[in-house]
């Protein structure tokens, strides 16, 4: 093949690469998904756009998780402290934790923060 053909191919490849990288690197929509972990195991991956209720029973106790209007909260718990419910409804940031019941709710997808102190 002629050099010119190669140059054109090269140019095309460059354009495709550039387009792809722009698309891949562009900040995406907030994924608004949350993972529910109990005693170190992933139980559910919940879409926060879908209102729903889940009851998680572990060897340590029971938590009721509610998804409403794009936010998630622990709305009932039999743990002694109730700190998991204190957090209220939220859609990002620090994971929601019920330490006594070994329950962790993590936000996944594009996260604006690298961590939350609190």
């Amino acid at each position: 093949m002629k050099t010119r053909t190669w140059v054109i191919l090269l140019g095309l490849l460059l354009a495709v690469c550039l387009g792809l990288s722009l698309w891949l690197l562009a900040p995406g929509e907030d994924a608004a998904m949350a993972e529910v972990w109990s005693e170190g195991e992933l139980l559910y991956t919940l879409d926060l756009h879908v209102d729903q209720t889940k009851t998680v029973v572990s060897g340590n106790g029971t938590n009721v998780i509610t998804v409403e209007n794009g936010k998630i909260a622990v709305t009932e718990a039999d743990c002694p402290d109730g700190y998991c419910m204190d957090r209220g409804f939220c859609s990002s940031g620090a994971q929601i934790v019920c330490l006594p019941n070994r329950l962790v709710i993590k936000f996944i997808g594009q996260q604006p923060l690298d961590g939350v102190a609190g």
Partner: protein, 308 residues
Amino acid sequence: MKRLICVLLMVMLLWGCAPQEQLTQETVFAMDTVMDLKIWGADGEKAMQTVKYLFSDLEDIWSAADADSTLSALNRGEGNLSAEQQAFLAKAEELSLRTGGAFDPKLHGLISLWGFLSDEYYVPTQDEINEALSLEQWNLGAAVKGYAGQQAVERLQALDVDRAILNLGGNVQTYGQKSDGSPWQIGIQDPNGGDALGTVSVTGTASVVTSGDYQRYFEKDGVRYHHILDPATGCPADSGLSSVTVICRDGLTADVLSTALFVMGLEEAAEFWRQSDDFEAVLILSTGEIYATEGAALSGCEFEVIKR
């Protein structure tokens, strides 16, 4: 020419195949909290094992609730401490002096009395408080997580690790730089719940620690008692603050100062900051007002700046 172009094409193609930096991620329960650990780099797996071992080791040594811990033995007048352990206690005492006693590493008796170790809460009388204060037993609860983050960083430095975020139950330890060179974005929890209230930008390796009255508390006869005890009164600090976040290169200092500034209250904490040069702070009042020191790099919320 052709050959050159071929080589160029190959290089470009391979460039696209360059492996993304490897992320090792784990959530573990240790030191009476949940830890969210993220480590980037070739030695990620090894580093994860190393820091997990470190945290479990530190728990065995410094746990105040465990009668078999080295700390409990020390409080019974038994056992010997390693040079490293002695250095930790010496640093804690030094910080206690620096904060004029607002942080006290010897409040074990008082913390037990209020029930913050057993979760069997109790509102003590003044006599009981005075007696507990006179015990002078060690409790590093307000220091050990910050210390753990700092110790973890030392372990990571010895391995092929590019960067890490170690979130030890709300004590955030950063390590290294983000791949794009931008600062770490660390949120500050709203004391009233929900999402993060604001964000601090942090470059490189640092520790961001929050002490708040919402983290541990109990209610008795309609009164709320939180876990940050004022060594001067022996009661929960009544300083008008809801939370204090400290940003500092030194993890132990960050952890201790977040507690100490909470006990001091806004005015005294601001003055303490003016006399220091090794940390920045964000203070949230019970009324909701937010104050940040000049260099705190806080964004995402309205706040008053504390000037030098």
